[in-house]
């Protein structure tokens, strides 16, 4: 007998078709791609060094000067350059925090879901406990006592926001582990680690990917909160959050200094949120929420 594969549209094709119908998700994906590219190529795109001071050129308005397209701040630094480099910082923190969140959440979710019993109980009570604290409170308390580096900020954000991911992954694993392919792996003598990470994890990839995308958005938001409150990225390194803090002092006279970084944050968060929403609809119609 020959292999005559069932004529079926490929799975990837179906997902792409569903994703494409989601206009806002496409736009979100485009925004995310542009942001990532601009962060990656910031040194090429930036008109000048973002830390270069020129007190003769303070508070230049945007669009007044081709050399300084978005104007300058209170120290005469070029706003566009600072936005581009700040984007690098904000996106780096967002991505590293997301990886931390997803790895922690996935490991805890898989362990709880697969091992069950006491392990599950203890881990889930820990999750419940962590969820009793408002995230910003937790984040600020830890951030205030840890020397602020890009890595520590990312880790702190990641380690205070994994709980949802672990719940999502656990629910998925509880459903998957009853399937026969897991029993088949056990009958072959597969170790628990192999079953958890080789058999189960790839099957939970869709919800994890969706959560990951949405987590970048919330991590960028969290970074801007704590930087705004002074416990995040420290000057002279620019991040969108601390640019806003700076701008607040000159708010009534030069509002664009606050408008621009805020708009950058909003655009980024929106991009990832729309992308994540579209991915959810495309990958997993069961979780669908919007038309």
């Amino acid at each position: 007998m020959n292999v005559t594969a069932v004529a079926s549209e490929s799975q990837a094709g179906r997902i792409w078709t569903r994703f494409r119908q989601h206009r806002l998700a496409l736009a979100g994906g485009l925004v995310v791609a542009l942001l990532l590219a601009s962060a990656l190529f910031a040194p090429l795109l930036a008109p000048q060094d973002p830390t270069l001071l020129d007190t003769a050129l303070r508070f230049r308005p945007p669009f007044a000067d081709w050399a300084l397209p978005l104007g300058t701040d209170e120290l005469g630094r070029d706003t566009l350059s600072r936005l581009l480099y700040g984007g690098r910082v904000s996106l780096t923190v967002g991505l590293v925090a997301m990886v931390t969140t997803v790895v922690t959440g996935a490991v805890i979710g898989i362990a709880a879901g697969f091992l069950g019993g006491l392990v599950d109980n203890l881990l889930m009570r820990f999750v419940d406990t962590m969820l009793c604290f408002p995230q910003v409170f937790l984040l600020l308390v830890v951030a205030a006592f840890v020397p602020p580096t890009l890595l520590s900020i990312s880790l702190v954000i990641g380690l205070t926001s994994w709980m949802e991911v672990s719940r999502i992954v656990r629910a998925e694993i509880l459903h998957l582990k009853e399937q026969d392919f897991v029993a088949a792996a056990r009958a072959l003598g597969a170790s628990r680690a192999r079953i958890m990470f080789r058999e189960l994890l790839p099957n939970a990839a869709a919800p994890i990917l969706v959560a990951a995308t949405l987590k970048v958005a919330s991590a960028v938001l969290m970074e801007s909160y704590i930087s705004y409150l002074g416990y995040g990225v420290q000057p002279p390194l620019a991040s969108w959050g601390n640019m806003l803090t700076n701008a607040q002092g000159y708010f009534d006279t030069v509002p664009w200094l606050a408008i621009l970084p805020g708009a950058a944050i909003t655009l980024t968060v929106m991009g990832f949120n729309f992308l994540g929403d579209g991915l959810r609809d495309a990958l997993d119609p069961r979780l669908r929420m919007d038309p």
């Binding site: 292999v3 026969d180 009958a187």
Partner: protein, 323 residues
């Protein structure tokens, strides 16, 4: 009878029923409640019964996919009912399983090659370099092209998937394969192909099978011997011909009469059982069948009958059947 490969005696598998409040144990489901079976090398034992009678649980307990509560499982003379994962490892190579649902039993995120490589990876057999050849050989054995290795399970039909499941079970060259309703999810036209494949493999490799099935027509094709289960216990064990033409246990007789001509020439006197199968959480006292049995007597409600040999290879668990 040839050399005994598997001997199961007094096997019990109980599941606790827990309350939502504090998860207290408030009852027990006796899914398997004292099963004795034997399988010789190279033979096929069919385990039949209605759904919920514990036949699948028995199969999974033999493979140690579910922990037995009590009883003994001897494989090739060694007691394995209490073995931990490490001591069980060599037996994983010698016993395998083919599942009922070919859609759920193959990992949808792995290629067929990945699925078939798993047994070699887990048991560190051969080198990564020679795996493609091993996998190709397995696929050819079950009648698929080696190119199938690059595809995903959802690209195949049910029958093809079941062949992949059989290939996976064969990878470790086991001596015993437990087929858990291996063809019941397939189209009738495909069933025969898969059954013939399994019979061919048995002849070529000297495999022993335990075929778990509720389909007596299938059983009549493949089984050397048949064990009939009711509510967690084996009520009758007999060679195929004896069972179909000379069943002695009232439950077996009722079961056979309910099937439209499972075997050509089988005499047909329709017997309809009264009532429903009782819950395994509250099985009846004595003989589990006595509430529905047409010939039950007072002692049946008190004393559980043991299987007694009434003829060579023919054992019945009934007080009222004389040798």
């Amino acid at each position: 009878m040839a050399e005994t490969l598997l001997k199961v005696s007094g096997l019990e598998v109980h599941f606790p029923i827990r309350s939502a409040f504090l998860r207290r144990r408030i009852g027990t489901v006796r899914a398997v409640d004292g099963v004795d079976i034997e399988v010789a090398r190279g033979e096929t034992l069919a385990l039949v019964g209605e759904s919920g009678c514990g036949k699948t649980t028995t199969g999974k307990a033999i493979l140690r996919l579910i922990d037995p509560t009590r009883g003994s499982i001897r494989f090739d003379g060694e007691e394995i009912a209490r073995h931990g994962a490490a001591r069980l490892a060599p037996f994983r190579r010698r016993m395998q399983i083919v599942f009922q649902d070919p859609f759920a039993s193959l990992n949808p995120r792995m290629t067929v090659g990945g699925i078939l490589a798993a047994p070699f990876e887990i048991h560190r057999i051969g080198t990564p370099a020679d795996r493609p050849e091993r996998i190709a050989a397995l696929l050819r054995t079950v009648g698929l092209r080696p190119e199938a290795a690059r595809r995903y399970p959802h690209e195949f039909s049910g029958g093809q998937r079941q062949r992949i499941g059989i290939a996976r079970a064969l990878a470790l060259e086991p001596e015993l394969i437990i087929g858990d309703e291996p063809v019941s999810a397939l189209d009738v036209s495909i069933q025969a192909q898969v059954i013939n494949l399994m019979k061919r493999l048995q002849a070529e490799r000297g495999l022993a099978y335990i075929m778990i099935s509720h389909n007596l027509a299938v059983v009549s094709h493949v089984a050397d011997r048949v064990a009939v289960m009711y509510l967690g216990r084996v009520v009758e064990t007999a060679p195929r011909e004896t069972l179909f033409f000379g069943a002695r246990h009232p439950y077996t007789q009722a079961l056979l009469s309910a099937v439209p001509e499972p075997v050509p020439g089988l005499r047909r006197t329709r017997q309809v059982l009264q009532g429903d199968v009782p819950s395994p959480a509250r099985p009846p006292t004595g003989c589990h069948f006595h509430l529905r049995c047409p010939i039950a007597q007072a002692r049946c409600a008190q004393e559980a009958p043991a299987q007694r040999i009434i003829a060579p290879g023919h054992a019945v668990a009934c007080h009222l059947v004389a040798p």
